[in-house]
Symmetry: D2
Subunit: 304 residues, 4 copies
């Protein structure tokens, strides 16, 4: 399969969508990004990389970081992790706080904001230097020592994140988080402030595609079966209330972020990351979704 | 892969679970089934069949029939089908009527009861003899001319199905169904009353696994891409509010029924059906889920 | 207090609102009513009547009939009635079916459609000729033997009442009603099809105002305390999701109907009925509410 | 009416209920109150006081203070207040956060916690020294200069009030409150920490009963009509999800608090306050409700 050529063609084919959607503007750091940027990178398990456009420009990965947090928590807690957080899709956005209230504070999955706060809480309770160790883990995954948090982004989010503060307080009320609400929110926003390029993201996701022998990075270990199960969670829960749509159109496990990034994997073949800041009404990158849909359509390769 | 041997081993390994769960008892025809029956059949795309125990005993497939109805509707309406019904997972059972009310009568996916009623409505509007053509389609899929509806089951369901009657009336109120409420309910319950054996179910699902050239049965045609997309919908929506759990434990697209049956596929490899009447709290077969979990664990084959 | 003069003044003062709102059009019999009709009648416990405009024209009382059904059920069952239906306000319209689902089929109050169906079910189970006895009771209350059901209205409602059919089926599913769904719906719609004039309605409500010695009509008896408690239920639950607004603006217990009628009482002083078909967004008569607000404002008489 | 004698009789009659229910224990200051204390005081508009037992012992009035905040806000903002907060009953507890989310951050009434936070926000924006002026207003209402906030109670609530913190953040997210979340919460908890005796509460509520000439206290003024409307809001919204029950059993406008106090009024006759720390499942004082039910039953006086 000539992925390099296919990626070039995809880039041309998605141009008609280049002005569709709106970038996130709730904090200055996201609002100031050039919405016309586009990057894409595909890494095969055979060690090949294929890049398009701004594949080496870093952007705010936001919710994509929840995948890394989940891997760490699964390594730390094993199957008992699922006593703290569910693994069912969340239905619609409508459910956010409603769901927590009805289900007594247990978030339905680790990729909802509430669920990721539980992950943050677990890391805070389990690690000596959670911020450092989280960063080390991601650096090890992608093999790049220069990736960093963006403190300004984390602080902006913290200052304006009233909905997330409501969620964290509700979790504390239900005793679903152990640490201080402020501490949980700080660490949650710090994780989300990670900045990576498409190439770095694709490399960081490659171990989830190349799972035959499990993985071990920076002291965190998962068996092959655990990695496959994480992929299953990405498949059913990775795209908010558009998980079904992404599954239907793209057919790969993946995770999106409000910064316009999407990372996905084709098990035992490749990982792929794409970035374009303009989002659709569900909060997922318009061109990113289109590019991935074309990728699996053109290659006729998907998990289904 | 020696599937025959693996199935035999699975049958032994799941014995400790043989008394777990409770069979459906809301109608006599289901309550009277021997809850100790177990059957399993795996069909490879190479034409091999592997059967265990009562793989040739017919049982009530119930919701599994919704997959056949979806294939017909997708063939008839193409992508415009999704204007009538969504393709997102439904979250929890809690949402059933709530979801319809909040989302103005559009069922979230075709495998919720409400969604399958929309499928029934489409078939009623599109076909001259919907009951006959539905049966012909399923017979063609599995190559068995003797499979039939069980009229007693359909009638029992109709008489006691007050929740389904509520759902159908709510759909009519929102103008999501065109035909008479009674007609929709009758056809819906008739489809669900289909009786098939594990072998017949596995054969009927094989075309969904063996999709390289699309399929055409009894006048209904789907492209390869359409079949793959149907598989995606099964993956995210096929197990009520346990879709995430099934994805996590088993990692195959599939569909369960309250009669204790589950059918699933491993794309481009095999289809598999299993039957055991005792259900867990979410309405899915206890031994059926366990058997499929072991199948993908032992073979190390899953879509992830 | 010169109620006659006050009513005349009110009629003039509300003219600016005479074209506001929209009459119900979901069945022909309601759609065909002249929306410009207006009637009002106040009856004091001293035996005086004061009428304005079309106070003797009959219209469809619709939900106002639920008050009569409640009085009969309270007479038949006493306090045990409240095991079958609640007496708390329902919050918003949003809750209709949601509320039933979350609270396992117990309607929150007897004036929601679901609650009134429970009343219908109780009358069906308790009386030999429920339709006849209900009519006799209302005739006795208002002293008019010529009031009748409108069979055409009942039949139209029955044919198009899918939301109510959904509610009745949901009640049956939860075993909150004992009788056949069809029977409950038929009787429910029959009760609502009652046609009365403002004068007849005011007379029928007078016993609820004049409760010092309880009451006994057509074999149904309530103590003074029971009547007062019924008035309390009207106060908190009589105006759908506008009960607070009516309490705030008018300050009298009452009940509205989608035909544009409102009946209310000032305990130990008077009863009053008003009719104007144009409804506000909550389903209550625009001019009716305005007229009653002016009545308590001008007289400075309200229960608060 | 010999209220003194009636109160004495009530005190004897409610003894069988003296151990029913459970006092609030979520903060030490409430958990440490002697649950066997009981006090009651009735003040007529003619200037008579009737007291029973510990009518002069102060306790934490908690949510009863919301009535005072509402009076101040209504004086400051007039009818425009209702653009910020609704006046409809809230249905069940189930709705708390759900309701806010569905209705875009507008609390359904001023006596829900969310609604009272909006009142707190308005006072913070309108007054120079909100804490001082609130206290002055209540002191003026009851004519007692020694009533005070309990800072320890306010601080305890603040430290453990995660659900309230969630609500405040959600209001801020919806821009329903203008001031800092922390500031709103601090003032909200401070208002609720007010300590008053039954006698002081009854005196503070007397102006709401004796509304013929409106009222003016400490610079805050309401017309007679405004006071009556406030009474209507108490009637429909004063007892959480037990407003219907209280209306039904007692038939007076009032407000309860989690400290075990209830204040109520009989318009143009009397105000009454009762205190007993043991609460029923809805958070209202068991003996308090029983005492008030007996009061209106024995006297045959209620608003209905």
């Amino acid at each position: 399969m000539d992925y390099g050529k296919i990626l070039e063609e995809i880039f041309l084919k998605i141009q008609p969508y280049s002005k569709e959607g709106r970038q996130a503007t709730y904090i200055p750091a996201l609002a100031n990004v050039n919405p016309d940027r586009f990057g894409m990178c595909l890494c095969t398990i055979d060690g090949e990389d294929y890049c398009v456009e701004s594949a080496d420009v870093r952007f705010s990965v936001q919710s994509i970081s929840k995948v890394f947090a989940l891997a760490m928590c699964l390594s730390l807690r094993g199957e008992s992790l699922w006593e703290r957080v569910g693994k069912e899709p969340s239905g619609t956005a409508f459910n956010s706080l409603v769901q927590l209230e009805v289900e007594k504070g247990i978030p339905r999955n680790p990729f909802m904001n509430a669920g990721a706060m539980v992950l943050a809480d677990i890391l805070l309770s389990s690690l000596d230097n959670p911020e450092e160790e989280f960063l080390s883990f991601v650096r090890a995954l992608c093999g790049s020592d220069s990736i960093c948090y963006n403190r300004e982004v984390a602080m902006s989010e913290r200052e304006t994140g009233f909905l997330n503060a409501a969620i964290a307080n509700l979790l504390k009320y239900h005793a679903t988080v152990e640490n201080d609400v402020e501490r949980v929110l700080d660490f949650y926003f710090t994780m989300c402030s990670l900045e990576m390029s498409c190439r770095e993201l694709a490399k960081a996701f490659l171990p989830f595609a190349n799972h035959r022998d499990g993985f071990a990075y920076s002291g965190f270990m998962l068996t092959s079966s655990q990695v496959k199960r994480m992929n299953a969670v990405m498949q059913t829960c990775g795209f908010y209330d558009e998980a079904g749509e992404f599954s239907y159109l793209v057919g790969l496990p993946g995770k999106s972020g409000v910064g316009g990034g999407i990372a996905a994997i084709y098990p035992l073949r490749y990982s792929v990351a794409v970035w374009s800041p303009r989002l659709n009404g569900k909060g997922n990158s318009v061109m990113g979704m289109k590019a991935l849909e074309l990728l699996t359509t053109e290659t006729k390769e998907s998990i289904f």
